[in-house]
């Protein structure tokens, strides 16, 4: 089950560069939330803060409060624990290229010490089914490598891998921007199905995609969250002129 995410006064830096300014928002559980905004506005930085990945960059720093359910992720949990609760999918599919499909999905669990083969088999099948990939790969689970399937399949494999550790939150940073329309539709269908069980945050440059999959949308500009509202509101009647200029393509 997903959890609410509450972000309070979140600030982030890369060295001396202040990239996120006092971001405040509440991301509701079991819904999809889209983040949009021009390149460099801080969307990726924001989602990377949510799983404490931002801090893995030695020059980077974050301040503020992020509550996932009752857990203050900067105080009450280690980055490793947070990664377990928060799955992440990136723009470019990044399966482990030499590992088999099976091992790709099982990798998170194995890392966490699971060895029981029956449990692993079960989790791998369930995760691949959830990611709508099972039927396409079930006969080649251990024969094919993560790199030997199509890009769209690789992205669903990465989603299966993220789901295998049973996270509460799924962060997706432009998960479909490198995919063709058919694979994109599959990912969107997947988001639609998964969002009843997870809190999904999706960064996208595709406005129609945000409109199709997300109940709420946030617009970032120059490190600030300019507007956060129901997606229909953002796309039909945004409150802020800057949001309107951006989504109608009047920018710059």
């Amino acid at each position: 089950m997903g959890v609410d995410i509450r972000v309070e006064n979140l600030n982030a830096w890369y060295g001396a560069v202040h990239t996120l300014h006092d971001v405040n928002l509440r991301i509701p559980a079991n819904h999809a939330t889209a983040l949009i905004g021009p390149s460099g506005c801080g969307k990726s930085t924001f989602v990377r803060c949510l799983n404490r990945m931002h801090e893995t960059n030695p020059a980077a720093r974050a301040e503020g409060k992020v509550m996932m359910g009752d857990v203050d992720i900067f105080k009450d949990a280690t980055p490793v624990e947070i990664r377990r609760r928060v799955g992440m999918v990136f723009q470019r599919p990044n399966p482990f290229p030499t590992m088999s499909i099976y091992d790709n999905v099982a990798s998170g669990l194995k890392l966490n010490g699971f060895r029981n083969k029956r449990v692993l088999d079960e989790v791998v099948e369930r995760s691949l089914r959830q990611a709508a990939l099972w039927d396409e790969v079930k006969d080649d689970l251990k024969k094919k490598s993560g790199a030997s399937i199509s890009g769209g399949q690789q992205q669903r494999l990465c989603i299966a891998r993220a789901l295998a550790v049973d996270p509460e939150v799924l962060l997706m940073d432009e998960p479909a921007s490198a995919l063709d329309p058919v694979s994109t539709a599959k990912i969107e269908d997947l988001i639609f199905k998964l969002k009843s069980q997870y809190t999904i945050v999706i960064v996208t440059h595709n406005m129609q995609q945000a409109a199709r999959v997300a109940e709420n949308t946030g617009f970032f500009l120059m490190g600030k969250l300019v507007e956060f509202a129901a997606t229909t509101k953002i796309f039909t009647n945004p409150s802020d002129k800057r949001t309107e200029d951006y989504i109608t393509g009047r920018f710059g």
Binding site: T236, T248, G249, G252
Partner: protein, 222 residues
């Protein structure tokens, strides 16, 4: 990315709607002028303008549809295109009302002339002014001006109600004048409908500019 081509298409859409509006306004003007002068020639002109208005309506709809499909407009642009589609439909129906009026005037022309207790020219002037003002609000993107149109509708409704009362009485008192009275009554009703379409247009302008749907509010206020 300032989408120059898209902005030009939006301008073209507006341009075409205004041409359409010009035709429709002319038709209304001619039909009411024909009422005062019982001019069958004018009525014929009104009738002849209908195919052109219908053609324009289809063209505007097509252009709007293309823009929706190809450009995936958002926010104010999306609302603008929706407003154009709805205004387009209302204008076409104002055109229909003009044709209906012209038909009644032709019929009146075949009947003995009598003085009817109804001020059709005044009603026509008001209804036409509503259309004119609603379109002006559209041209200028002025929601306040559009709001003012909504207020005029009550006057048109009142005049139409007066017409029904006085013409109804006339029919009771002088049944031989019923054919003329009925024609005037239908014209009055047609003009009242023109006012309704102008109201719709004004509401669409407000929706476009402010993003608020104000339709049916007058019903709630009643």
């Amino acid at each position: 990315m300032i989408r120059i081509k898209f902005q030009q298409s939006l301008d073209e859409l507006k341009e075409r709607l205004l041409v359409m509006a010009g035709l429709v306004e002319q038709a209304i003007q001619r039909s009411t002028e024909a009422y005062s002068s019982r001019d069958a020639g004018l009525c014929e002109l009104v009738r002849l303008s209908e195919p052109a208005i219908n053609r324009m309506e289809r063209e505007i709809d097509q252009l709007a549809l293309d823009l929706l499909a190809m450009e995936q407009p958002m926010a104010v642009d999306l609302r603008f295109i929706l407003a154009v589609i709805r205004i387009n439909a209302d204008l076409e129906r104002v055109g229909d009302q003009a044709v209906n009026i012209a038909g009644r005037v032709v019929d009146l022309g075949t009947q003995p002339h009598v003085d009817l207790p109804v001020d059709i020219p005044r009603l026509a002037l008001l209804a036409a002014a509503m259309v004119r003002k609603a379109l002006q609000a559209f041209i200028e993107g002025d929601a306040e001006m559009a709001q003012a149109v909504l207020l005029l509708d009550d006057q048109v409704d009142d005049l139409n109600r007066d017409a029904f009362r006085s013409l109804g009485n006339l029919i009771k008192e002088s049944p031989d004048l019923a054919p003329q009275a009925l024609n005037a009554l239908i014209i009055s009703r047609n003009l009242e409908r023109v006012g309704d379409h102008a109201t719709n247009i004004a509401e669409d302008v407000i929706f476009w500019v402010r993003g608020a749907d104000v339709r049916h509010h007058s019903m709630e206020a009643d």
